[in-house]
C-alpha cells in the first residue's frame, strides 16, 4: 500500500513542462501533491490503479501504474510505483488529448 515512506521522483524534462500548465491547474496540482506526498492514497485524490498487463509492467520495470485526477474534466496525473525501492515516479500530467499524444 502506498504511503508517505515512498520517495516521489519526476522526470526532469517533465518537470519543466509543469510550468506550461494553466496556472489554476498548476495550483491544484501543487495542492494535491502536498496530500499525495503525505499519503498517496488520500481519499481526496481518488487515486486509481490502472489496468496494465504483467508483461508490460515487467517491460517498464515497475510494479503498478496509477493515476489521479487534477480536474476530472480535463487533467490527470499518471505515475509508476516500484515497491522494492519505494519509489513513485510521476510520468505526466496532461488532459485527455495531450495524454494520448504524449504517450504515442
Amino acid at each position: 500500500m502506498l504511503d508517505s515512506s515512498y520517495k516521489i521522483l519526476i522526470d526532469s524534462k517533465f518537470e519543466k513542462s509543469l510550468k506550461g500548465l494553466p496556472k489554476n491547474i498548476k495550483d491544484v496540482f501543487d495542492e494535491k501533491m502536498e496530500y499525495f506526498r503525505n499519503n498517496p492514497s488520500h481519499p481526496s485524490l481518488n487515486t486509481k490503479q490502472c489496468s496494465v498487463s504483467r508483461s508490460k509492467l515487467k517491460e517498464l520495470g515497475v510494479d503498478q501504474v496509477y493515476e489521479f485526477y487534477i480536474n476530472r474534466k480535463d487533467y490527470r496525473c499518471l505515475f509508476y510505483v516500484i515497491n522494492e525501492t519505494k519509489e513513485i515516479i510521476i510520468v505526466c500530467i496532461a488532459n485527455h488529448t495531450q495524454i494520448k499524444n504524449k504517450l504515442k
Binding site: D11, I25, E34, P43, K73, V91
Partner: protein, 183 residues
C-alpha cells in the same frame, strides 16, 4: 458565458438566493449550501468569482465565511428577517444581474432545490474542496480556497469522457533524468 464585469456583493448574493428559495425551505443551512454550490459551479465553469463571498469549512460543512454576523448585519439594515433558523428576504438584490448569470444561477439552484437539507449537507461534506481544506474533517475553521472549485466536477455542465490509454503507449523510465519532486 461568464461575465467578467459582474460580481455580486455578499449581501446581494444572499438576497438573490433567498428570493429564489421556497419560503418553507428558507433556512441558514439551505442558504449556505446553495451559495457554496452556485459559487463553486460558477468558478468551475467560468473560472471567475461570482461574488465577493468567501467560504469556510466548519463542522456543518462549507458555509459563507462570517455568515452569522453578516446575516445579523443584514437584518439590522432590514434587508432580511431572521426567525430562529428561518431567513427570509425583505428586499431584492440592488443590482442589475446579467441575464446569462441569472440563467446559470437559476439552473444550479433548480437542480439542488430538489434535495433535502440532509442531502445538501451530506453532498457538501463530500466535496473535494471541503475534504482537502479540513484534511478529511480533521481540521475545522479554515477558509476554502476558491481555486479548489476546479475539483468539483460534479458541478460541471457536462460529464467528461474518461478515456483509457493504451498500455503500449506507456513511456519507459530514463533513470538518468529522474529527480526528486519538490514543490
Amino acid at each position: 458565458m461568464g461575465n467578467k464585469k459582474f460580481k455580486f456583493t455578499k449581501e446581494d448574493f444572499i438576497l438573490y438566493i433567498l428570493n429564489k428559495l421556497e419560503p418553507d425551505k428558507s433556512d441558514k443551512i439551505r442558504l449556505n449550501k446553495m451559495a457554496f454550490f452556485v459559487e463553486f459551479a460558477y468558478l468551475l465553469n467560468f473560472g471567475q468569482d461570482l461574488s465577493d463571498a468567501n467560504y469556510a469549512a466548519i463542522n456543518k460543512g462549507p458555509v459563507i465565511d462570517g455568515y452569522d454576523s453578516l446575516l445579523k448585519s443584514m437584518q439590522t439594515k432590514r434587508l432580511i428577517k431572521i426567525d430562529n433558523y428561518v431567513v427570509r428576504p425583505l428586499k431584492s438584490p440592488a443590482v442589475d444581474i446579467p441575464t446569462d448569470i441569472r440563467i446559470f444561477m437559476d439552473s444550479i439552484m433548480d437542480k439542488y432545490s430538489k434535495l433535502k437539507n440532509e442531502e445538501l449537507y451530506t453532498l457538501s461534506h463530500s466535496t473535494d474542496s471541503y475534504k482537502i481544506t479540513t484534511n478529511n474533517e480533521k481540521k475545522m475553521g479554515r477558509k476554502i480556497s476558491k481555486k479548489l472549485a476546479i475539483l468539483e466536477t460534479f458541478l460541471a455542465d457536462d460529464e467528461s469522457q474518461e478515456e483509457e490509454f493504451s498500455e503500449d503507449s506507456l513511456p519507459k523510465i530514463n533513470r538518468s533524468n529522474l529527480v526528486q519532486y519538490a514543490r
